[in-house]
């Protein structure tokens, strides 16, 4: 079958992006070395090539950055909303202008296919800034009372799966509402945030309004616990989210946490199979499954199980895994060796516990971090692969007979971030959606994002919402 779909390589040019051999921390409008001079390397996960060396922030740097943000806060928060809006509109436009460069950069540093960074990440990043730009002078209309005030300095920690998009989700609403920020990107994907610092420079953003600290968890922890940080916004693992909730206990810091998920994608027997299969594939194999809202549990009605699985496996054999910069690539690299080891271990557990593993027959490149699209059948709710977030291209398939059973199984999770429903019956969509304990429910679609639409989880998937009018609340003293 694969031979019928041979494609010549169609690589996107790397020449649009110029990565410097080293980068400093971006504090108070200047790039500066870490106080203790520490650095770390960032790799291309598809080739293991070293892309650059970046400064590793420590507690002293966090303090400097928070002080810069505090100093900038007074003037920034006092600006008329219409002026803050114009800065954010400028940022949105500059991101649009530089979107190809940033897409290639993101693909290099993260390992995800260029098709995704070019067609999903970057358009959403620009749109997010554009949307929140418009709110900056309309906060009186947002439903939080007259003249709502910002919180102050926001400490923001973002993950490696959508580095620039998560940056946009954090920075755009924070700035629109008049806060200043210190943002720490993940240690495996620091580059796009550093390029964003340059976007801020081009936009003429006042110094100190945005500060970028590259580093590890210790820097994140120092940021969370810094006494002059008023708000913590974190996207990442549930374990770290809980640690942050403990760290800020007893303070008056606000927090929003976007954590893990184990989304149920429910396929009823009347769903159009081909359409559902596309949705299942998007749900779990988009971004190599490294998506907190991934539809990682497929709940398929028993009567159509065989038909859906047959179509799904057939579809998975047509996915192209390989060079993320190739425009035909569907599945890119896993972000890091550490993540690959985690996925591998969980899949081994799945096999050991008796679930039946099937992986798409595809050749894995010899360098870099790769994992073939994989699914488990014969999975029960007790299996580890049905309970734990794998954060990789691994789908666990369970079955159900009645809608009630589907809902019960879907909700049988510590998580509650996303869910999918596939059926032609509108009333069933709404009835099931009503019962699902999940923050985002997609019906006959999956993994759709828009700056106007709130996103966030129930239960241990975190609290607070990002996006939309609702996303303003997290940065306002209301």
């Amino acid at each position: 079958m694969a031979s019928a779909f041979e494609y010549a390589p169609a690589p996107e040019s790397r020449s649009v992006v110029d990565i410097a051999p080293s980068y400093g921390l971006f504090i108070d409008g200047e790039f500066t070395e870490a106080a203790d001079g520490k650095v770390f390397k960032t790799l291309s996960p598809s080739t293991e090539e070293v892309l650059s060396e970046v400064a590793r922030a420590g507690a002293e740097d966090v303090d400097r950055a928070v002080k810069a943000a505090r100093k900038a806060f007074e003037k920034w928060s006092a600006l008329p909303g219409s002026e803050r809006a114009k800065y954010l509109f400028r940022i949105a436009r500059i991101i649009q202008e530089r979107s190809r460069e940033l897409a290639v950069l993101e693909t290099l540093d993260n390992g995800k296919p260029i098709r995704e960074t070019r067609d999903a990440d970057l358009p959403l990043v620009a749109a997010h800034f554009f949307y929140y730009a418009g709110w900056a002078d309309k906060l009186d209309h947002a439903g939080y009372g007259a003249n709502p005030r910002p919180l102050g300095v926001a400490g923001q920690i973002i993950p490696w799966n959508f580095p620039l998009l998560m940056l946009a989700w954090k920075i755009a609403p924070a700035l629109a509402t008049g806060n200043t920020v210190v943002l720490k990107p993940a240690e495996t994907t620091p580059l796009s945030a550093l390029f964003f610092a340059d976007v801020c420079r081009q936009a003429g953003l006042p110094k100190g309004v945005v500060n970028i600290l590259t580093g590890y968890g210790d820097a994140g922890s120092a940021l969370v616990t810094h006494p002059d940080v008023n708000k913590v916004a974190f996207t990442g693992s549930t374990a770290v989210g809980k640690a942050i909730a403990r760290q800020i206990a007893g303070t008056d810091k606000r927090a929003t946490l976007e954590l893990g998920g184990k989304g149920a994608n429910i396929v009823f027997d009347d769903a159009p199979v081909d359409q559902a299969v596309e949705g299942i594939v998007t749900g779990i194999f988009f971004n190599q499954g490294q998506v907190c809202c991934a539809g990682s549990r497929l709940l398929v009605q028993e009567s159509v199980h065989d038909e859906v699985l047959h179509a799904l496996k057939r579809r998975l054999t047509t996915l192209r895994l390989g060079d993320p910069l190739d425009k035909n690539t569907d599945i890119g690299a896993i972000n890091s060796a550490e993540q690959l080891a985690r996925i591998t271990a969980l899949v081994e557990t799945g096999e050991a516990e008796g679930a039946e593993r099937w992986s798409a027959p595809c050749e894995l490149p010899s360098t870099g971090y790769w994992f073939a699209p994989t699914l488990f059948t014969g999975v029960t709710q007790a299996h580890t692969v049905a309970r734990d977030e794998i954060f990789g291209p691994v789908l666990s398939v369970l079955t159900f007979r009645t809608p009630d059973e589907a809902v019960a199984k879907a909700n049988n999770s510590q998580y509650g971030l996303s869910a999918g429903i596939w059926t032609e019956k509108g009333s069933r969509i709404l009835a099931v959606a009503n019962k699902l304990r999940a923050g985002v429910v997609w019906a006959n679609t999956f993994n759709k994002f828009d700056p106007t639409s709130p996103f966030g989880g129930y239960k241990e998937s975190g609290y607070g919402r990002e996006g939309g009018r609702h996303g303003l609340e997290a940065y306002l003293d209301v």
């Binding site: 219409s82 554009f130 730009a133 418009g134 900056a136 309309k138 209309h141 809902v407 019960a408 909700n411």
Partner: protein, 317 residues
């Protein structure tokens, strides 16, 4: 005009359906600055021009109202960008049109640019502010969403030739309506030049159509036009009798009417304004615009859908 060079005059034309026609009537009238100095001969549009403009606006309505709010926002922002680039030209035109100093005219133009930015931000937010889910007492999903009314005739304010114009036009198209604008009769040049900005801003032809001429002559066929869905009477602010006639004519197909903001209950102010032509529209166009001009030409659509039932108990989660 320095160094004795003879400048090139511009022939001001209408902006209809994305093109720049002269009036089909072949008529022009003389436009002067407040001191009487000749500025230009501009088209004196006819009833036929008004009807042609409605046809163009109707034709553009499907695509424009169907465009995503994000797309409309991008285009309105693009208008601000293009206007910023032509700032000097508009400062000159507004100064001439309204008899303002360069610095005052510059402040007016800056405010007009910023007003496009303000409305660019509203395109994808007004639905979230005025729409929403309704918790009906039954097993139904119930959602109200604002939608544009259709073709809106806009009588631009007579006094504020650019800021006032932008303030009445931008909210109409931000929400997805298309517009037929009657420019200020005595100060139409900034409006006609704005057509050139709109034509280079990715705004589809026909979304905005701009006519110059005698307000009453053009307003009458627009107010009674059966394919016009709404009318903003701001430009009739100085003429209560005309405004009343137009509102009555608009009743024939129940056009949505935005009345002139001059209060009928304050005759002293009206008289004072009438004595000062620049303030005749009675509005402080630099004030916070609020949302009333956005909602004036919106319909609310409410969709019901049964939510069904999952059996007796449902889930305990």
């Amino acid at each position: 005009m320095s160094d004795g060079r003879l400048s090139v005059f511009k022939t001001y034309k209408l902006y209809v359906g994305g093109k720049f026609p002269r009036s089909e009537s072949g008529r022009v009238y003389e436009v002067t600055d407040p001191k009487g100095k000749w500025l230009a001969n501009v088209p004196q549009s006819s009833r036929k021009d008004a009807r042609d403009a409605v046809v163009a606006a109707r034709k553009a309505f499907g695509d424009w109202s169907g465009a995503t709010a994000y797309n409309r926002g991008q285009i309105l922002y693009r208008i601000a960008e293009m206007l910023e680039g032509r700032r000097e030209q508009f400062v000159r035109e507004v100064a001439d049109a309204e008899g303002l100093s360069k610095s005052k005219a510059a402040a007016v133009v800056d405010a007009a640019i910023d007003r496009w930015v303000w409305y660019a931000g509203w395109t994808d937010k007004i639905g979230q502010v005025v729409g929403g889910a309704n918790p009906v007492a039954g097993p139904f999903f119930n959602l109200s969403t604002p939608e544009p009314t259709g073709v809106v005739a806009v009588l631009a304010p007579q006094g504020s030739s650019l800021l006032g114009l932008v303030s009445v036009l931008a909210p109409v198209i931000a929400t997805g309506n298309t517009a037929v604008v009657v420019a200020s009769a005595d100060a139409p040049l900034p409006a006609l030049s704005l057509g050139e900005v709109l034509a280079t801003s990715d705004l589809p032809g026909g979304v905005v159509n701009i006519l110059s001429g005698r307000t009453a002559e053009l307003a009458a066929p627009l107010a009674s036009h059966q394919d016009v869905n709404g009318i903003d009477l701001t430009g009739a602010a100085g003429d209560a009798e005309l405004a009343k006639e137009l509102e009555a004519a608009a009743a024939e197909n129940l056009k949505r009417v935005l009345r002139p903001s001059v209060s009928r209950h304050r005759p002293e102010k009206e008289a004072k304004d009438a004595a000062r032509p620049q303030a005749v529209d009675g509005s402080d166009w630099s004030a916070d615009p609020g949302t009333h001009r956005l909602t004036a030409f919106l319909e609310t659509k409410t969709v019901w859908h049964p939510t069904g039932a999952l059996g007796a108990s449902g889930s305990s989660y």
